[in-house]
Amino acid sequence: MTARADLETIRALMRRALNEILRVPGAAIPGVLAPTIFFLGLTAVFGNLTLLPGFTTDSYQSFLIPVSLMQGAGFTGAATGVNLARDIEQGWFDRLLASPAPRGVLLAGLVLSASFRVLLPATVLLTVGFALGAHWPGPGGLAIALLITMGMAIVAAAWGTTIALRFKSQSAAPLMQVGMLLLILTTTAYAPLALLTGWLQEVARYNPATQIVDAARQGFVGTVSWDETWPGLLALAGLAALLVALALRGMRRTAD
């Protein structure tokens, strides 16, 4: 297929994914609001952790916002997986597979849509977060945070796609959600690295997602610097490459 035809196919698939939100708005509401609801809950419960000596900020909202953004990415990616599982169950996916569109192009259409869909819960979250006193991260900090959020949405969508292709059923949805949740929460999600205890501190130390969370968090808790940014971007790129490769493998094996 020519490059032009491939791009057109990706655009068409992305448009279809976005259509879901427009045409069945009720279905999207939970996913859009969930990260904000968890944000409100967690800040109300654990907000006073900032009283601990060594906490890097006095605003738990500012500290937690990037984590909730990642959570939004996780839910969006899981939704992509669930939609694919439904398409597989209903035979729609066969239509795509029987066409000459290359598997990589089909995958791109699926996961790229997630990176745009995540902006919806992200916007709600940021609006509520700022209203509750989260620090303004500055244009640079905000851009980095959103870029990372979109990147994590691709990671989550690739994961959801892999699970959907493996189990071919919507009932695998919890697995899609739990996977991303574990990745995001076994990091400096609740507190800075030095204040984590026991096994979590060890895991967070080596979890690439910690770099990602910290990079997204920069502007909200302090100043933005390249030194803080590049490890997160590298980790994100690595994670994305790994999961997209996994998903592509799954796509290629649909006929097995």
Binding site: P30, L42, V45, N48, L52, L185, T186, A191, T197
Partner: protein
């Protein structure tokens, strides 16, 4: 006393349903356990704060919240199972038989109770393995199992009421996120003097706070204080609420026919 036999039979069925398919129990046990592990690791330093109550460790503090979370999920899943029975038409068959209406709900609750007891044992084991100490001793542990089981029944009754009212499994399933919300608004995960608004105010009168504190008391203190009594009272309140809701929902369903 055919009703007792009916409850026994339905109870056996609901236990079979619950425990024969591990993929359904797993989320109820695994999810709160994972969350517990992460929260203990992430917020565990809070015990260093001067305002934090006297405990052996953060796990000792948290374990009660995890148990109640699991009990809520167990109640929710019992409601889903009943809703599926209704969708399938099984409940109609039971209603057409000469058995007490309530036997139908109680039979379902037997399964939920068993699940509640199982989660209590599970978390007690987790607590002991990971270094927590149950100050209440063996008696305390038994009381914990009892309280968690009764909680699961109470939540199950509310779940059953919603199932009877809506007749739809997806409606009951949709309440799943609510479990987390009401727990955030209680002292399930953090002490009341360290909560921020709006959680602080709501937690003050949230019955779940009292139930959790009652169980927590058995873990972190050596004697039965007022917290235990308050917990039992709150549990009684929720149970009565659940029973009234179920009765009303059942009546409504029978009237609608």
């Amino acid at each position: 006393m055919t009703n007792l036999r009916v409850i026994g039979a339905l109870g056996r069925r609901s236990i079979n349903q619950t425990f024969r398919r591990p993929q359904l129990i797993a989320p109820i046990l695994i999810f709160p356990t994972l969350l517990l592990a992460i929260q203990v690791g992430g917020a565990g330093r809070a015990v260093d704060l001067p305002q934090f109550p006297e405990v052996n460790g953060f796990l000792d503090f948290m374990i009660a919240g995890a148990m109640i979370q699991a009990a809520l999920l167990a109640g929710n899943s019992g409601g889903i199972a009943l809703a599926l029975d209704i969708e399938m038409g099984f409940t109609d068959r039971l209603l057409a038989a000469p058995i007490s209406r309530f036997a139908i709900v109680l039979g379902r609750l037997v399964g939920t109770a068993a699940l509640g007891a199982a989660t209590a044992v599970w978390f007690i084991a987790i607590a002991l393995i990971f270094g927590a100490k149950i100050e209440g001793g063996v008696t305390g542990a038994l009381l914990i199992i009892l309280l968690v089981t009764l909680s699961a029944i109470a939540f199950g009754a509310i779940g059953a009421a919603i199932a009877l009212r809506s007749g739809s499994a997806s409606v009951v399933q949709g309440l799943f996120p609510l479990v987390f919300v009401i727990l955030f608004l209680s002292t399930a995960f953090f002490p009341d003097n360290l909560l921020l608004e709006p959680a602080a105010s709501i937690a003050e009168w949230n019955p779940l706070s009292f139930i959790v504190e009652g169980i927590r008391d058995l873990v972190i203190s050596t004697f039965l204080g007022p917290s235990f009594a308050e917990g039992v009272a709150a549990l009684a309140l929720v149970s009565i609420l659940g029973l009234l809701m179920s009765a009303a929902a059942m009546r409504g369903r029978l009237k609608r026919g």
